[in-house]
Amino acid sequence: MLSAGFAAALTLGNLTLSFNARNAQAATAPPPVAVGVSALDPAAEALYLKARGAESQLSYRGRLNTTYWRTGHTTSVILRHMAPNSLRIDYVEPDSIRGRAVVVIAGNEWTYSPSDRSLTHRTFASHSLAATAGLDLLTRNYILKVLPQPDTVIQRKTTILEVLRRANHTVARKFWIDDVTGLILKREMVSEDGKLTVTISYSDISFHPQLTAANFDLSNVTKIKGVRQVDETKTNKSTVPVSQVTQPLPGSIYPPSAAGYRLVGSGSRQINSRLTEEVHYSDGLELLSLFEQKRIKVTRATRVPRVMTPVPINGKTAHFSRRNSLETIIWDNGPLRLMVVGEANQDRMLAFAIAVDQFVSKSTTK
């Protein structure tokens, strides 16, 4: 699929000019094609909007458990949220990360890690990205369906919202939405082959917690002997929107989206001491992120962690890995190193990577 922005960028060729074309593309992305899209069920839309807004509007404290069924391991956290924008996550399980705490307040994130005795302050970048896909994109690729049978989760009445893939009507997600508050109390992720991959659910929750600002202050951990403070807010490790990037980016031009996906955000940050261009595509539910870096030695393949599995991409050797539910593919293409990260299934990720690779090959040979 070649967008208008893509064509413009190809014609221009010049790096700086092509960024302008890209910005234009991001800003004026065409509305989704409405072919075959049925009208949204009003009840489903209302439930969706209720659930979407609930998390930031409520104050609550609960224990949230995430089970990754592929590996069978579970992460358990105590989650505190004070409306509108203070969040604290304390890890309870597994034992190896028990004691880790993450606090997010208005775009700032502090992570205390007992294992390496550090308190790291970062800027949380999502607010600087235009990566918000709307309901239109979601309904273009998925069907929202409210199940007639209610259910209960931790003794609370819930309504189940099912998200089906429009292409084959298979279940992609199931959400148990609290009837009173709208908070999603349980969610399931299902792969395209029908396997349950992730379950996230509260095992207890209180909507009337006694929370104060002190609950979201991690500065007391610095009194622990040996704990060092790391400030990453001034190290360009946070994303800067493409429109504000002043130096040439490593990538040549935006590759086309995967089928059904749309460009929803782009930016730049330092990763591995290298300027990295990041491009995000969404199908309304899942996000695929593409990263591009300039290679130093084109004659030498990028070294990757040993656990990554080799996979072929257009005759090249890419490397694949999965951790928790996130999948990653890395490969080299001429002067660029490319990486795709997402929660989509491996086949879809690979298809996207192949399309990107073909596109980059064409654009770099022109």
Binding site: S126, I200, R300, R337
Partner: protein
């Protein structure tokens, strides 16, 4: 950590080259960190390599170098008394053979045969040393960045290598999750957890921090 004796010279050299196995790299790094003699030895190696790195890229001998060196070796060779020559037999030259039994009484003889150092032996040793120096110099040229993934060793050369380690992977994932948090049904806290979970030190699926390039299909 496994209990280690002092690190051998060969292992220190391999450690600097980054050619030890992952486990041995880690064990060696940990041992060196807590062992004064080995730490000193490592520093000495580093200095030597630094010296080599600073040396001119190619040094050509003067035109009469080989002739003069050979002449001097022959001169010195003649000056050495036959009986004082004791070394293992490496190269045999007709007419220059020396038997230990000729110099040592029968009762004190060693069970192996020795010969005197010939010019060829010295030349061979000299050539080997020169080759070793050139080899080390070559490796030093490819050395930067090898420590990028060894725990406990400062990573000062990361920008000279195309290497993605687990920390980099976590950074990419973090960038992804930050954007994903803005998606419908994303659940910001879940995305934050996805990024934080990846730093689990016990997660063996993360793999070791050693890199392995160019795995072919």
């Amino acid at each position: 950590m496994t209990e280690m004796k002092h690190v051998s010279t060969q292992d220190i050299s391999d450690f600097l080259d980054g050619t030890l196995s992952v486990a041995r790299m880690r064990d060696t790094a940990i041992h060196i960190d807590g062992c004064e003699p080995c730490s000193t030895e490592l520093e000495a190696w580093k200095k030597t390599r630094a010296m080599l790195r600073r040396a001119p890229k190619s040094v050509a001998p003067s035109p009469d170098f080989w002739a003069a060196t050979t002449a001097r070796l022959i001169e010195e060779d003649r000056a050495i008394p036959q009986a004082s020559r004791l070394s293992f037999q490496t190269v045999l030259i007709p007419g220059r053979r020396f038997e230990l039994k000729d110099a040592v009484p029968a009762g004190q003889r060693l069970s192996f045969k020795t010969v005197g150092p010939s010019i060829s032996t010295r030349m061979a040793a000299f050539t080997s040393m020169a080759a070793a120096i050139v080899g080390v110099a070559f490796m030093v040229g490819h050395w930067p960045g090898m420590f990028a993934v060894v725990p406990g060793i400062p990573n000062t050369n990361v920008s000279t290598m195309d290497t993605i380690d687990n920390d980099d992977l976590s950074s990419f994932v973090r960038a992804h999750t930050e954007a994903a948090a803005a998606q419908p049904f994303a659940d910001g806290s879940r995305q934050i957890m996805l990024a934080a979970d990846l730093d689990d030190p016990s997660d063996t699926s993360a793999g070791d921090t050693t890199t392995d390039a160019d795995a072919n299909l």
